[in-house]
Structure formats: structure tokens, C-alpha cells
């Protein structure tokens, strides 16, 4: 599903040029659950953003489902993204002004799903993440774990083939963290590909495979 070869990514500021990713190659098959680990600043988030088509790359090739997307413009990336990829962030990134229901509904609006269908699907995933009873609450009124479950629900409501999670448990205590990991595992078992960045060896054990990075390169891969 994801085949990245010889990827390079630089950040240029006025004084310095940072090499965030350096000749990195990875391969993720459909249905896999991959964890990405490594010390802070080694380029995990950068990699995830590129995989998620949020950011462009400077060198290298990126085949997504066999299509070369390295040279895609913003519009094409956005089209591909909204139908195929769901995101879960460390800091949840729910919209404060929208209710739980509305937050989860957003991706469906952007993919132009009709209202009745939207309602059905949002309720379905809210059941699944067990947050249905809070559907009309605002994010601030929920605990961190509940907020992250809503974020997961939002990531999966469009039935994406790929879910990218950047430290999804980073802001949660172990109980809440486990709940979220459980959810991701269930999704993976249902066939969704998952790439997850984590600092926690415990969480990484849920994955089929662990990619360890250092200084913008893959250090080693272990199969869990």
C-alpha cells in the first residue's frame, strides 16, 4: 500500500538547513499495523505527514496504492487524502466550537455524503467507540481519553484504508491509552492499515512490525 524509496526532506530556515529525513525507504503492506519509534526529533512526525499527504517531499518516490504521488499538487493530494486516510493526533485536534457529533461528521461533509447517510454512519462509529451518550457535548466537556476516542471515530468514519496516528496515547493515562490501543487493534483486525508513531514500547507491542528511526533514517525493523 505504501512504498517509499530514497525519501529526502529538508527544512530550510534562514540560518540552517535541517535534514529531517535522509534517504529513507519504507514499505507498508495493506492490512498491516506498523509502529514507528525513535528519539525526539528523529523525523517521525515528518514521515507521517508525508505518508499522510499533508506535506510534500524534496526527493524520492512515494507510491500510494501503486500510484506515484510525490509530484501531486495540493488539490490532488487533498482528494486522495479525504477518501483514503484518517488521522489521529497526540493533542486530539478536535474543533472546540463543534459538538462531538459534528466533529465526527466533518469528513463525511467534505466527501459529500448525504445527510441521512452521515447520521447513520456517525452514530455507528460513536457506538463503536462508546461515546454515543456524549454526542451533543463539546470537546472541552470530555476527558482526554474520551476526546481521543472521538478523534479515532472521526478518523474512521469515512472508512479509510489507512489510519495514521501520531502518538495517539501521548496525552493519556495508561487506562485511557489502552482503550485507544484496543480500538486501533480492532480496526486493524477489520482490515484497516495503521501506521502509528509512539514512544511507548508497550503500545508498540500492539503492532505487527516496529520501525525504529534515528536521525531521519531507518535504524532497524523488528517484527512483533
Amino acid at each position: 500500500m505504501i512504498k517509499i524509496t530514497e525519501l529526502q526532506k529538508f527544512y530550510r530556515t534562514e540560518e540552517v538547513e535541517t535534514v529531517a529525513l535522509n534517504n529513507l525507504s519504507i514499505h507498508v503492506k495493506g492490512g498491516e499495523f506498523v509502529a514507528v519509534m525513535g528519539p525526539s526529533g528523529c523525523g517521525k512526525s515528518t514521515l507521517l505527514n508525508i505518508v499522510g499527504l499533508l506535506d510534500d517531499l524534496d526527493n524520492g518516490s512515494y507510491l500510494f496504492n501503486g500510484i506515484e504521488v510525490a509530484k501531486f499538487n495540493e488539490r490532488k493530494r487533498s482528494d486522495l487524502r479525504k477518501h483514503n486516510i484518517g488521522f489521529v493526533f497526540q493533542s486530539f485536534n478536535l474543533i472546540d466550537e463543534l459538538t462531538v457529533f459534528e466533529n465526527v461528521e466533518l469528513p463525511l461533509i467534505y466527501t459529500k455524503v448525504p445527510a441521512a447517510e452521515r447520521k447513520k454512519r456517525v452514530e455507528e462509529v460513536l457506538e463503536k467507540v462508546q461515546i454515543m451518550h456524549r454526542r451533543n457535548h463539546f470537546p472541552q466537556q470530555l476527558s482526554g481519553g474520551q476526546q481521543q476516542r472521538v478523534a479515532v471515530a472521526r478518523a474512521v468514519v469515512n472508512k479509510p484504508k489507512l489510519i495514521l496516528a501520531d502518538e495517539p496515547t501521548g496525552n493519556l493515562d495508561s487506562n485511557n491509552g489502552n482503550e485507544v490501543m484496543q480500538l486501533l487493534t480492532e480496526l486493524n483486525e477489520a482490515g484497516t492499515t495503521i501506521v502509528m508513531v509512539t514512544h511507548s514500547e508497550h503500545d508498540a507491542r500492539y503492532a505487527d512490525r516496529i520501525i525504529r528511526m534515528l536521525d531521519g533514517q531507518v535504524l532497524m525493523e523488528t517484527v512483533g
Partner: protein, 796 residues
């Protein structure tokens, strides 16, 4: 501590350049406009500051005439001397008479001829009453002799250059020689008495015949003690009764203090055009306050918006032990610095704006007003109050955060403060929309008036002032001009529409006590051709010849009525011919024709009755209809013809259409002042909106990032952000519609012929406001929408 506050305030200002710039500039603009208006208001309040201001009064005649009440500053010439003789309380008294009752005088000085409109004939006491500063001449004797004249300093310069004009002579209207007995320092622009030349009253023919009847003489008096006013006023009715008898007077008299003269004379018929208008002044005061408030609102809005970005600063200060009071004074110090700079810039802008203001409004605001003490006392007060008002909300909001609230970045979006800011934007936009509607309505009305069919054609008609010409000269001039190529037709007349007619009363029969006022205009020639009037029945009046007498030897006169007059008499045009209506213009005046109605006055007034006659009235104008062509050549030809007939008189003329325009000058000026201030208000409002949009976009970067990740397109995001503001404008629109409808209906009521207010005028204003708001906001919206979401979503 305070110094420290100002230092950090200054640093903060430099740190947020865009914000500070918007804030200061918006405030400065609003201030400039408000300052300009205050200067004007101050000037209006400093009118007629003569040494003896409290003791000076003028007579006002309350006239009941033809069933209508009028106020005239002119009173009969017997009043002044009689009151002075009988009331020792009156220290000085001076009758004045504007030369020719408003017609221009022609003054010859050696070879040069000048046209003068501000020549007054006045009693000697005028020098003391208005405390004239005589640069040459003896103030005791300056106006005591007939055929003497005082020149204002600038007229003296114009006539005689740097020579001393004392005892030199000038010639008036080719028949009177006047000796210069003095030169006085020009009266200020803020003097109602606006004489540029003052001739001795005894010179004027109207001074010879002392009457209780002809109320044409503006008479000023100076009392020994202002408190004597009552006493003098109570003597006035008694005096009239003694001299005229209680029957037959059509007027009563009162005194108007000089302090009231400038502002409370709009309803009074006076010589001077330097009339203020207390109610208009009040409106301007409101406008000034509104502009100031808008500017202050702007400041509050932007500062409050930014306050939330600064919540962290507050949180940290508070956790470190800062007290609320300290924070309050800190934020106030910041506001004080900002408003101080804004006032400085605003003042500079206001000074630069003075000529623009004068050009737009037709007022004469002078730089002198800048030195008025009120202004300089007012400025610091303004600074203080502006700082207090505009700093209030941001300072309160910021200092009220608990440290915890303040540190939770982004969480301190209190519903209250959002609502408050939105309300402010709505307020600003309501005001802007009202002003835009006003601009649309006023310009439509102006347009309507200039395109309305008047019933006669004022274009390409010249009125040449016959002034001092005798009958032979007049005929010679008429023949010469009639023979010139561009001339289509000519007529000699007493008046042209709206200038110079005499007013009389038309009555149906003896029982019709009220009657209807009508204007009569004596004409000698084919006025219907010159004015392009439509004759409905009969014929026009003939030039009078000696054979037009009755058997008893009295004159027979003719008149042509307009349709309105015939309607009043309850007749149809064909019936009225040959009749002698009760018109008060001679017993033997027969109707010979009827013309269709035409708008002889401004469209402020409804069309009334009008008559062309050949009764004996002075013929003052030669009206010439000329062919379209090179106006300058035509005019030169006419001037040459005039000079050939009367080489020593100045060629004084008016175009009928420009005279007509001048009737609407005040309306146009009001409209352009409104336009200027609307543009300003909208602009200031936009600055506020721009700042608010910048703030909103920044506050919503995270949300925008999330939406983009989820697949939102740039257009949908721009729409999302802009829509919020459009909603505010829509609310403003709903508020503004009834307000502007109400306000401008009242303005339109000033016109007898007016447009109707139509829905599209509001729609246009609303649309304009939406477009302006969108343009302002979209810049920020687009900037936010195209930003890379990765940036905004980076976890901290």
C-alpha cells in the same frame, strides 16, 4: 512604576506593528474628522464676538402678511431714531440698508469699475456698535456727512493700492460721488455684519423719507445695560400705537440679542448670508461624537481581540504575584500612549483637512479657530476621556482573568467578550449602512432635481443686470444684443424666475380674506420665447404704450396668469381672459393670457401662483436666450456690446441655470459632507473589521488546519471564515434599514418635489456593505486557508 508602564507600552506597540498601525490609524482618522467638526462647532459658537456683545441687539419685525407669518430683520426707518429719542437706555442706534436690496452696486475708481455686493448704508453709530477699528479717518465724524463712505482695508487696497484713500472719491452707479472718510480693519469672517463698504445713511434716497411702513432697514442698537432689554421691548408696542395706531400695522417688534443672531436666524429674512443653524450644528455635534465613538470602538475591538493573545502574559504576571490594579494601570498606560499618538496624527490630519472641509461644505472654517483656548483645553480632556473609554473593556477583560484561565491558551474565549466584539462590529456597520443609504438617497434627489422638467428652460439664458442704465441705454443695449448672431430672443424684465419678483395677494372675491400669495414680474417683450413657456390661452402682455389709458385717464394694465393662479380662482383658462381679478396690482389690470405652470423657485417649494404684468415696476434685467455654441465667445460679444453702450459700468450677469443651481448649493454641500464622512466611517469600520478578521483567522488556525486535513478545500474555508462576518453585516443591515428610512424620509420632506425611497436603495447599501466587508475579510481568510496545515497542527 508609571515610567516602566509607558516603556513596556511603547515596546508592545513596536512589537505588534500591524496591529498598532491599524489601531492608531483608525483612531487618528476618526479623531481628525471629529476635530475638524469641533473646530467648526467652536467657530460657529464664536460668532460676533464684539467688544459690546452683551449690549448689542437688533430689531426683529414679526410680520403677518397674507395670512402667513414672517420674521424680518428689516424694520421701518422711523423705528431706530424714535426709540433712541424716547429711551435713554438706548446708547447707540444705527439703521443699515444693503445697497439696492441685494442687487450689486457698481463702483468706479478712476478707470476701474468694480461690482460690489456688500455695500451698506449705515448711521454713524455703526462704528461704535461694532467697534470698527479705523485705520484712517475720524471715528466720531466718519459717517456723519452725506456722500461719504468707509472702505474696508481690503477694499481700500483693491481700489487704491498702497495709497492713502482718505478724501479720495469713488463713483457709485454712475450717478453718485462718494468721498472716502475712513478705512476700517476688515470685519472677521465670524461677523454677521459683513459690510465691505459702509456709506453714510444720509446718502441713500431711502433715508430722506421717514416711514413707519417700509420694513427694509436692519437696525442695530447698543444698550447701556443689557438688562434694559425688557424695558425697551415693552416700549415698542406703545410706540407703534402712538405713531401708527393700532389698526393697520402688519408688524410687531422685538429685540434679538447679538449672541443669538448667528445661530437662531434661519427663519429670519436678513441681509447677511453668514447665518448659522443651531439644529444643523447639533447634528454635526452628534456626527462628531459618533465618529469619535466609532474610532474608540475600533480601538476597543482590536485591543480586546488582541487581549486574548496576551492572556499568557497576564497569566504569568498573575502567577508571579501581579495585582489586578497594577495590570489595569499597565493596560491603561498602553492605551494612553496609543491615543496620544493618534491625537497627534488626528490633529495634523484635521489641519490638513480644513481646506477640503471648506471646499466640500461651502463653509469658511479659518485656521484662526485652531488658536481658540477651548480647543486647547479640550484636547487634553479628549485624550483623557478617549483613553478611559477605549481602554475600559480591554483593561477590564485582561485583568479579570484568573491565572489558570489565562494560562490555558486559547481556552479563554469567553462568550461574553466575543459577543461584545461582534456587537461593536454590528454597531459600526449599522452606522456605515445608514450613511451609505443616505448618500444614495441624497444623490438620487439631487439627480431628480436637476433632471426634472421645470415648465421652462433655464439653459442658455443670460440675465444681464441693467443696474444703473437709463431707458435709452437699455433700449440701445437690447437692440445691439438682439442683433448679435448667437441671440435667439430677448426680453427686458423686472425679474427672472426666483429672483426679483414682487409678491402680492390674489383673492377670489372680497370675502376671501386669506387669499393666495403670488409673484408678479413685469416684462417688456417676449418672455415666453426667452423662457420657453407654454401659452395655454390668450396672448402675452404687450409693452406699455401711452394710449393704454381708460376713459378717466388712468392707466390700463395687462397681466398673464399661470395655471395655478387660474385654478385658485376656480376658473378655466379661457374664462379668465378679460377679467380683473383682485390681485392688488392696480384696479385696471386685465388678464390677457394664461401660461402653463412652471417651477419658478427651488423644488423645495411647491409651485404657486405667478403673473407676468406690464405694471410700472423697475426693469432690472435684460434676459437673452442664446444659441448653444462657444460660450466664451458669446459672452465676450455681449460684454463688448454692453461696453459700447455704457463704457463706464461693469458688465454684471447671471446664467439662469447657474442661478438655479445655486438654490441647491446647500443641499449639494450637505450631500457631499455626508459622502465624505460616510467614506471615512466605512473606512474606519473596515479597519476594525480587518483587525478582527486577522485575529479570528489566527485564533482559528488550528481549526482550519484540522478541517484541511479532513479534506476541506480552500474555497470552502474562505467561505467559512467570511460567512461569519457577512452574518454580522446582515444583522447591521437589519438595524440600519428602519433607521435610515426614518432619517432620510425626514430629509426628503424638505422638498416639495421629492423622490420616493425605494427598496433597491437599501439593497444597494447592504450589498455595498457586504462587498466591502468581504473584501476586507477575505484577505485574512485566504491567508489562513492556504496556509500549510502541518504548521498549525504541530504538537507543542
Amino acid at each position: 512604576m508609571i515610567r516602566n508602564h509607558f516603556k513596556t507600552a511603547w515596546r508592545n506597540l513596536l512589537k505588534n506593528k500591524l496591529f498598532s498601525l491599524l489601531n492608531i490609524f483608525g483612531l487618528a482618522l476618526g479623531l481628525a474628522a471629529a476635530l475638524l467638526l469641533s473646530l467648526f462647532i467652536i467657530q460657529e459658537h464664536s460668532f460676533d464676538r464684539f467688544t459690546n456683545r452683551e449690549k448689542i441687539f437688533r430689531y426683529i419685525a414679526h410680520i403677518t402678511y397674507n395670512g402667513t407669518n414672517m420674521l424680518w430683520a428689516g424694520v421701518p426707518n422711523a423705528i431706530g431714531p424714535t426709540v433712541k429719542e424716547n429711551m435713554p437706555e438706548v446708547q447707540r442706534s444705527a439703521r443699515t440698508l444693503l445697497n439696492g436690496f441685494g442687487d450689486n452696486a457698481s463702483i468706479r475708481v478712476g478707470e476701474d469699475a468694480f461690482i460690489e455686493s456688500r455695500l451698506y448704508w449705515a448711521d454713524p453709530d455703526i462704528v461704535e456698535i461694532f467697534d470698527l477699528n479705523l485705520l484712517h479717518g475720524n471715528r466720531k465724524t466718519a459717517l456723519t456727512e452725506p456722500n461719504t463712505i468707509l472702505l474696508s482695508e481690503s477694499k481700500a487696497k483693491q481700489y487704491f493700492g498702497n495709497e492713502n484713500p482718505l478724501n479720495k472719491t469713488v463713483e457709485l452707479d454712475r450717478n453718485t460721488t462718494l468721498k472716502v472718510t475712513g478705512v476700517y480693519a476688515d470685519l472677521p469672517m465670524t461677523s454677521t455684519f459683513d459690510a465691505e463698504l459702509i456709506g453714510s445713511f444720509s446718502t441713500s434716497g431711502y433715508s430722506k423719507n421717514i416711514t413707519w411702513d417700509n420694513a427694509s432697514f436692519e437696525t442695530w442698537i447698543m444698550l447701556r445695560d443689557p438688562d434694559d432689554r425688557k424695558k425697551v421691548e415693552s416700549y415698542l408696542p406703545k410706540m407703534i400705537e402712538d405713531h401708527v395706531g393700532s389698526e393697520g400695522t402688519y408688524y410687531t417688534l422685538s429685540l434679538q440679542p447679538l449672541a443669538d443672531v448667528h445661530q437662531y436666524s434661519t427663519e429670519i429674512n436678513t441681509y447677511s448670508n453668514r447665518k448659522g443653524d443651531a439644529s444643523q450644528l447639533l447634528q454635526l455635534t452628534y456626527l462628531a461624537i459618533a465618529l469619535l465613538l466609532m474610532a474608540a470602538i475600533n480601538y476597543m475591538n482590536l485591543a480586546t481581540a488582541r487581549a486574548q493573545q496576551r492572556s499568557k502574559e497576564v497569566g504569568v504576571s498573575k502567577t508571579l504575584g501581579a495585582r489586578r490594579k497594577g495590570l489595569l494601570s499597565k493596560f491603561y498606560a498602553e492605551t494612553a500612549v496609543l491615543t496620544f499618538i493618534a491625537i497627534g496624527i488626528g490633529l495634523a490630519l484635521a489641519v490638513m483637512g480644513i481646506p477640503i472641509f471648506n471646499a466640500l461644505s461651502g463653509k469658511t472654517l479659518t485656521y484662526d479657530t485652531l488658536s481658540h483656548p477651548i480647543f486647547w483645553v479640550g484636547l487634553p480632556l479628549l485624550w483623557l476621556s478617549l483613553t478611559l473609554i477605549s481602554g475600559l473593556y480591554p483593561a477590564l477583560v485582561l485583568s479579570s482573568y484568573t491565572p489558570l484561565e489565562a494560562l490555558q491558551k486559547g481556552k479563554v474565549t469567553r462568550a461574553g467578550s466575543i459577543l461584545f466584539r461582534r456587537a461593536l462590529v454590528v454597531l459600526q456597520f449599522s452606522a456605515s449602512i445608514v450613511l451609505i443609504v443616505g448618500v444614495v438617497i441624497m444623490h438620487r434627489q439631487m439627480d431628480f432635481m436637476s433632471h426634472r422638467k421645470l415648465g421652462y428652460n433655464p439653459e442658455n439664458v443670460l440675465a444681464i443686470n441693467l443696474g444703473s442704465l437709463n431707458e435709452q441705454e437699455r433700449d440701445a443695449l437690447r437692440n445691439r444684443i438682439g442683433a448679435l448672431a448667437p441671440t435667439r430672443s430677448t426680453v427686458v424684465s423686472q425679474a427672472f424666475p426666483g429672483k426679483g419678483e414682487s409678491s402680492h395677494t390674489l383673492r377670489k372675491d372680497d370675502s376671501d380674506k386669506q387669499g393666495a400669495m403670488f409673484y408678479a414680474n413685469r416684462v417688456d417683450g417676449d418672455i415666453e420665447e426667452v423662457l420657453e413657456l407654454k401659452l395655454l390661452a390668450g396672448r402675452m402682455v404687450k409693452e406699455r404704450v401711452d394710449s393704454d389709458t381708460t376713459q378717466e385717464g388712468g392707466w390700463i394694465f395687462e397681466m398673464v396668469l399661470n395655471k395655478h393662479a387660474v385654478d385658485y380662482l376656480g376658473l378655466i383658462p379661457e374664462e379668465v381672459i378679460g377679467k380683473k381679478p383682485l390681485a392688488g396690482i392696480g384696479d385696471n389690470t386685465y388678464v390677457v393670457g394664461v401660461v402653463d405652470n412652471f417651477n419658478y423657485a427651488s423644488l423645495h417649494n411647491p409651485m404657486g401662483a405667478y403673473a407676468f404684468t406690464n405694471t410700472p415696476q423697475r426693469l432690472r434685467y435684460l434676459l437673452v436666450r442664446f444659441a448653444t455654441g462657444d460660450l466664451r465667445t458669446t459672452l465676450r460679444q455681449y460684454e463688448q456690446a454692453f461696453k459700447q453702450v455704457v463704457p463706464d459700468a461693469p458688465f454684471d450677469y447671471t446664467f439662469l441655470d447657474s442661478h438655479l443651481e445655486s438654490l441647491y448649493l446647500a443641499d449639494r454641500q450637505t450631500a457631499s459632507v455626508l459622502l465624505a464622512f460616510s467614506i471615512l466611517a466605512v473606512f474606519v469600520g473596515c479597519l476594525g473589521l480587518f483587525g478582527l478578521a486577522a485575529f479570528t483567522a489566527e485564533k482559528r488556525t488550528k481549526e482550519i488546519g484540522v478541517r484541511k486535513v479532513l479534506g476541506a478545500t480552500v474555497t470552502s474555508l474562505v467561505r467559512l471564515i467570511s460567512l461569519d462576518f457577512v452574518k454580522l453585516v446582515v444583522v447591521a443591515f437589519v438595524i440600519a434599514c428602519p433607521l435610515s428610512y426614518w432619517g432620510f424620509s425626514r430629509w426628503l420632506d424638505n422638498f416639495a418635489y421629492r423622490i420616493d425611497i425605494q427598496w433597491w436603495m437599501f439593497a444597494a447599501a447592504g450589498l455595498a456593505a457586504v462587498v466591502i466587508a468581504l473584501l476586507t475579510v477575505s484577505f485574512q481568510a485566504i491567508k489562513a486557508a492556504v496556509a500549510n496545515p502541518v504548521e498549525s497542527l504541530r504538537d507543542e
